[in-house]
Point group: C2
């Protein structure tokens, strides 16, 4: 994507998306056939139809959209995913597209997954799993205009099974963050995934990594505490976060456009109420 | 899959596949367009055409086939992957199909990935990443006739970044194996992924987990030591392993059927030369 004659970096794209939306909301596009509104049940491409409704209802409010690829792969709906991403580009051109795929594999396999995310689907960023280490992560970070979002401390109950194991006085997820910041972020296109269910851990990560942006799942259906999350994770500029919600927004009020819009606007405003006022104004003017 | 009037468990399917092939070979189906034999370059479904050749060349020798989904997803070839798996069922009905996807996500997302692997593609097993913990793993273990292969100590250089970090005297990958064996394997359908590049670590895992089967990548193109791997990983019955090779087999001799067959037969025989003779005879007769 060319702009002002130069390629925008991922970090620039992220800030532009936050300013353009005047906020930090990331809308998860996780459509499940069994949960779709009844009026779409007979549509020939129901996931795409539902996503169009969600995108129309939230554009301008969402800094990012995050389709979870599993919900498309499970039912052979790759084309509906691709069409949904094209629709975002038409209707919300400043919003980031984050492919939530949690990829983690080595060398030429990781390169193939990067082509899937960035070339086939044209995503701006993709979520990545750190377990296999550097050669599973670096292939996603070679393009300065595309980002990788590395799982760090996730929001689910099982996160404690391994992520919280401690060595040399620090839990595994802190080692992941340190290693990533020191070795993998030469292009400034790395983000961490840090769950809203663990604000104390997020505060420690923010203190250790003041400049890394976090993607934050766990608000909404998973019960994370929004105020505590923002207090823990916002950086000095009132940025540094994308707050992701999926089910709580897309199925609001049974999935009507008005209810989806209202729920996204509510989250957008609740977030901004906790951000520094000067920055909110600057964002609104940008 | 009904047989003798009862559902076979995954553990039974694994043993049957090993006995039917008289060996422990797993053939990775990782076709890359740029590497295909020239005579297939113009085929309309080149990945499927190449896989048919590999399957024809190795059926009867392979206990399992392991398609790496990234190579299909990168180029929108989901239908060629599905057709390749159907072709395995026709031509090598006793062989296991392991979908190498390294999935790792929570709750309803993990359930969607399980539907992709087991229902959409009809795979017998799928590779899984442990980083997110129990709620990311258990949805793949609920069907007694299907298995999950959990990343434990992988064969790549980056594996040391986190898997080797030590707490309470044991490296992370040992904690993963212990936790999995204790909490997740009630149905006996769990395997561990342990790389051939680390025979010492494999020996420790075998000693700690005498009954868990391992999938072993890293032989062939990655340079793992086959004899050391077998000495470290075979269980008391001369089983307990699937030895996976991809590039070294499928691109042998430029990808001719004869060369592919010869390379797979060579690996099959080199493995069996290290197994207890009585068991090899029993396997050949089964």
């Amino acid at each position: 994507m060319l702009s002002w004659g130069v390629l925008q970096t991922f970090a620039e794209r992220l800030k532009k998306a936050q300013y353009a939306s005047g906020g930090l909301v990331c809308v998860g596009l996780d459509p499940q056939l069994a949960k779709l509104p009844r009026d779409l049940a007979q549509d020939r491409t129901p996931l795409y139809a539902f996503n169009r409704r969600v995108i129309d209802a939230t554009r301008g409010l969402a800094a990012a959209y995050k389709p979870q690829i599993a919900f498309y792969s499970a039912v052979g709906a790759e084309e509906e995913l691709a069409a949904s991403i094209r629709y975002i580009r038409e209707r919300a051109p400043d919003a980031l597209v984050i492919l939530d795929a949690k990829r983690g594999d080595i060398g030429n396999t990781a390169a193939a997954y990067a082509r899937e995310a960035f070339d086939r689907y044209g995503a701006d960023a993709v979520t990545i799993n750190p377990y296999m280490g550097g050669d599973a992560v670096l292939p996603f970070l070679t393009r300065p205009d595309r980002g990788a979002l590395l799982l760090c401390r996730t929001s689910n109950p099982g996160a404690k099974d391994f992520q919280d194991l401690t060595f040399d006085g620090l839990p595994l997820y802190r080692h992941v963050a340190m290693h990533a910041a020191q070795h993998w972020n030469a292009q400034g296109n790395l983000m961490l995934v840090v769950g809203a269910t663990v604000p104390r851990e997020m505060a420690e990560l923010r203190a250790a990594h003041p400049h890394l942006p976090f993607l934050v799942p766990g608000i909404g259906a998973q019960g994370g505490d929004l105020k505590a999350t923002l207090a823990a994770g916002l950086n000095a500029q009132g940025l540094g976060l994308l707050i992701s919600a999926s089910r709580s927004i897309i199925y609001a009020g049974g999935g009507t456009e008005a209810a989806i819009h209202a729920e996204a606007a509510k989250l957008h405003d609740e977030i901004n109420a906790e951000r520094p006022p000067a920055r909110r104004t600057a964002a609104a003017q940008a």
